[in-house]
């Protein structure tokens, strides 16, 4: 039983870590604020969730479990709200998104930040 | 020696950054941000100071023997409350400054003050001339 718990937890944690790392990388690689926001979204949702679920699996007490659930719920509530508010503020204050050309598809995108 | 006082260096760096913001920025909100940073650096200093080698966070639990020194934590809890009160008060002042001056830039505000000062002076002067 312990092994099942450990393995499933480890798996969750691994996936979560990978997603979070990916999010971080995306923050660096994406060309403008709006695209970076999507990268951050990855980490906020599934990344956090996987890590917290991983922890829930190995958690010992009921209260600990509940608290982890709480953190998860808070994250889910807060994440989109901040993203939305941030994007809205950025757009309203005149930050133009860089847009790709639909016809160019994968081949070409607009010039990006180094 | 450098590593032994690692926490000090961090604290000093944060403190200097905070002070720099307070002094260098004309935007009142940014000044408050700097001030908060400055205060927070001191909180960190206290907390890092409380660390006892081998001791864990001073949250009571059954199977733990050695804790870090809880006193600075307690003190800093108080200080944080004070800090929040300060920040809140400062922000509310800024709101009212914005309402009355229409700006939160130090330069603008001072310009306006100087103007009203000169105006009132010239008014008084003209009064005196009339009197004479």
């Amino acid at each position: 039983m312990d092994i099942v718990i450990n393995i499933s937890s480890g798996l969750c944690l691994f996936v979560g870590s990978f997603l979070c790392l990916s999010g971080g990388v995306g923050m660096l690689r994406f060309p403008d604020f709006y695209t970076r926001m999507h990268a951050a979204g990855v980490t906020d949702t599934l990344g956090s969730a996987m890590i917290l679920i991983g922890l829930m699996i190995i958690s010992t007490g009921f209260l600990v479990f509940i608290k982890l659930v709480m953190i998860l719920l808070l994250g889910m509530l807060i994440g989109p709200t901040t993203s939305h508010v941030l994007a809205k503020a950025a757009l309203h204050n005149g930050l133009e998104p860089q847009l790709g050309h639909e016809d160019a598809d994968n081949k070409e995108t607009t010039s990006s930040n180094p | 020696m450098l590593m032994g006082l690692f926490n000090h260096w961090v604290v000093i760096a944060l403190m200097m950054i905070g002070l720099y913001i307070v002094i260098a920025h004309g935007n009142l909100i940014k000044k408050i941000v700097g001030l908060t940073l400055f205060q927070t650096s001191v909180f960190i200093f206290y907390i890092s100071m409380a660390k006892v080698n081998g001791g864990t966070a001073p949250i009571l639990a059954d199977d733990i023997i050695q804790y870090s020194n809880p006193l600075p934590h307690v003190l800093i809890l108080t200080a944080i409350v004070v800090g929040i009160a300060t920040t809140a008060l400062a922000l509310s002042l800024v709101v009212r400054i914005k309402e009355t001056y229409g700006s939160i830039e130090e330069e603008n505000i001072q310009d306006q003050d100087n103007q009203t000062f000169e105006q009132s002076n010239s008014q008084k002067d003209s009064k005196q001339e009339k009197q004479a």
């Binding site: - | 002070l19 307070v22 009142l28 000044k31 001030l35 400055f38 205060q39 001191v42 200093f45 206290y46 100071m49 006193l71 600075p72 003190l75 108080t78 200080a79 004070v82 009160a85 300060t86 008060l89 400062a90 002042l93 800024v94 009212r96 400054i97 009355t100 001056y101 505000i109 003050d113 009132s120 002076n121 008084k124 009064k127 005196q128 009339k130 009197q131």
Partner: protein, 499 residues
């Protein structure tokens, strides 16, 4: 009455702080401005009675130590009252009570009706903070009380009618917070070195580690922090506007008490906690403070001469007066410290009277620009006479309190053979003559402006407290026994000299 209740007698040190603290939320319940004013006045009066009893007790039976919550001194928080504390407590509570007497009338025209209750609450909190700073024997507690008094001070200043009050309050907030945080750092470093926050304990343990760099750093932080609060030149920039644009009552209260509390802290930290030998022999504090004090006297007095807003004028004068106290302090002799302590008391009497009188002018005229004072000597004879006597006291004319402190200051300087400084001090008084006389001339020798509506003398609620203070000004200038005796005793005990 309280004196006859031995059970309460023991708790006087903590009651001194707790009573105004508890009174603040009660004000919230009372809600309406008039009963709140009465209640605040009674509270402050009670605090005054307590401080008198404490002074009596200290003078007869020595230091009082009170352990809060029954924890013994180094661990629990100790309230410790010696002669110095009792003296400063007396200054604060007496001025607070007298000033509060005029508060209701004064704020009627300066603060919107809806905020009156909050005004008294903040006032009481500010009083609590100051009393706490002085009463406590715990270094960290000092920080907490300092922030209580400062925060309420910022809010009180921001209540001023002029919009510049907001800007002044903001600036004061920034500077004050930096100052308080510096003190906090210093206290933290001291704690790191000694493992205690109790002042008495600190003073025992600091000498062992006195030669470390950490203690030097701690000392530097504390001193700079206190000097910011003190508005010692060149850290005084926040003060003039804060005093000038705050409601008159607030100015009268703070001008008389806030800087005194800061001076108290300076003395407490240098003399008691770090110790005389550390503060004055290992560090060139003497030269530094002497120079800063003198620079403050001259620069602030000169600035005062050019002010057209009279509150601003006397605010600059306050900075200059702080300079005198600092010079006395920097002499680091019993006489010098006596001079500083005396001047603390005396300056509180002068400035509260002057600023209250300016509050009366504000009440009648709505502003305190120099041009509004034309012919005021005849229209508001009692108010203007009070300002003149207060001004004479600032100059240091004999038979006013100002003379007594100046006398001791000169004596202390001559003891050290510092003639040039003595001359400079006296030249500073000449500057005071100039800035006081600019006002006197306008008030007594200019005809009222043609478009100025004739005004009546200020209401009794102003005249009574103003003249109480003015009479005290003269009384303590003639009967110096109480003030000199207490100041001297406090100074001696700080130097460890037995009388």
């Amino acid at each position: 009455m309280i004196a006859h209740l031995p059970a309460l007698q023991v708790h006087l040190p903590v009651l001194q702080v707790i009573i105004p603290l508890m009174a603040a939320p009660i004000c919230l319940i009372l809600k309406r401005a008039h009963p709140v004013w009465l209640f605040a006045l009674i509270t402050s009066g009670l605090a005054f009675v307590i401080s008198v009893l404490l002074l009596q007790q200290v003078m007869t039976s020595g230091v009082i130590s009170y352990e809060l919550g029954g924890w013994q001194a180094p661990w629990g928080i100790e309230y410790r009252i010696d002669k110095l504390n009792a003296f400063v407590l007396l200054i604060i509570t007496s001025i607070s009570t007298i000033v509060l007497f005029a508060a209701q009338t004064s704020i009627e025209k300066e603060i919107p009706k809806s905020k009156h209750t909050f005004f008294y609450i903040l006032y009481l909190l500010s009083l609590t903070g100051m009393l706490g700073i002085v009463a406590t024997g715990d270094a960290f507690n000092v920080f907490v009380f300092l922030e209580i008094s400062s925060l309420s001070a910022y809010a009180l200043i921001a209540m001023g009618k002029d919009r510049r009050a907001l800007w002044a309050a903001y600036q004061y907030l920034i500077m004050g917070t930096i100052g308080a945080t510096f003190i906090l750092i210093g206290i933290g470093l001291m704690y790191q070195m000694t493992g205690t926050l109790n002042m008495e304990d600190l003073s025992q343990r600091l000498p062992e580690v006195a030669q470390t760099r950490t203690v030097f750093t701690a000392f530097a932080f504390v001193i700079v922090g206190v000097c910011l609060k003190l508005a010692l030149f060149p850290l005084h920039l926040w003060l003039p506007n804060a005093y000038a644009y705050a409601p008159s009552i607030v100015t009268a209260f703070f001008a008389a008490t806030a800087t005194k509390v800061a001076i108290y802290l300076l003395i407490r930290f240098t003399f008691t906690i770090f110790g005389l030998s550390f503060s004055f022999t290992t560090i060139p504090l003497q030269t530094l403070f002497m120079a800063l004090g003198l620079a403050g006297i001259f620069i602030a007095s000169t600035s005062a001469i050019y002010q057209k807003n009279i509150k601003l004028l006397f605010a600059y004068s306050s900075i200059a007066q702080i300079g005198y106290m600092i010079v006395g302090f920097s002499i680091s002799s019993v006489t010098g410290l006596t001079a500083t302590l005396l001047h603390m008391f005396n300056h509180a009497l002068m400035k509260s009277a002057i600023f209250l009188a300016l509050g009366a002018v504000m009440y009648r005229l709505g502003n305190v620009q120099l041009s509004s004072f034309h012919g005021l000597g005849r229209q508001m004879p009692f108010t203007m006479a009070a300002i003149v006597i207060g001004g004479l006291s600032l100059i240091g004319v004999p038979l006013t309190v100002g003379f007594v402190s100046k006398w001791y200051l000169l004596l202390a300087l001559l003891e050290q053979g510092w003639w040039p400084v003595a001359v400079l001090i006296l030249l500073g008084s000449v500057l005071a003559v100039i800035y006081v006389w600019r006002l006197v001339e306008v008030a007594y020798f200019k005809e009222p402006l043609s478009d100025q509506v004739p005004v009546k003398e200020a209401p009794m609620f102003f005249i009574i407290p103003i003249w109480t203070l003015i009479i005290a000004n003269i009384y303590f200038g003639i009967d110096t026994r109480l003030s000199v005796q207490v100041a001297q005793a406090a100074a001696m005990s700080l130097f460890g000299v037995t009388p």
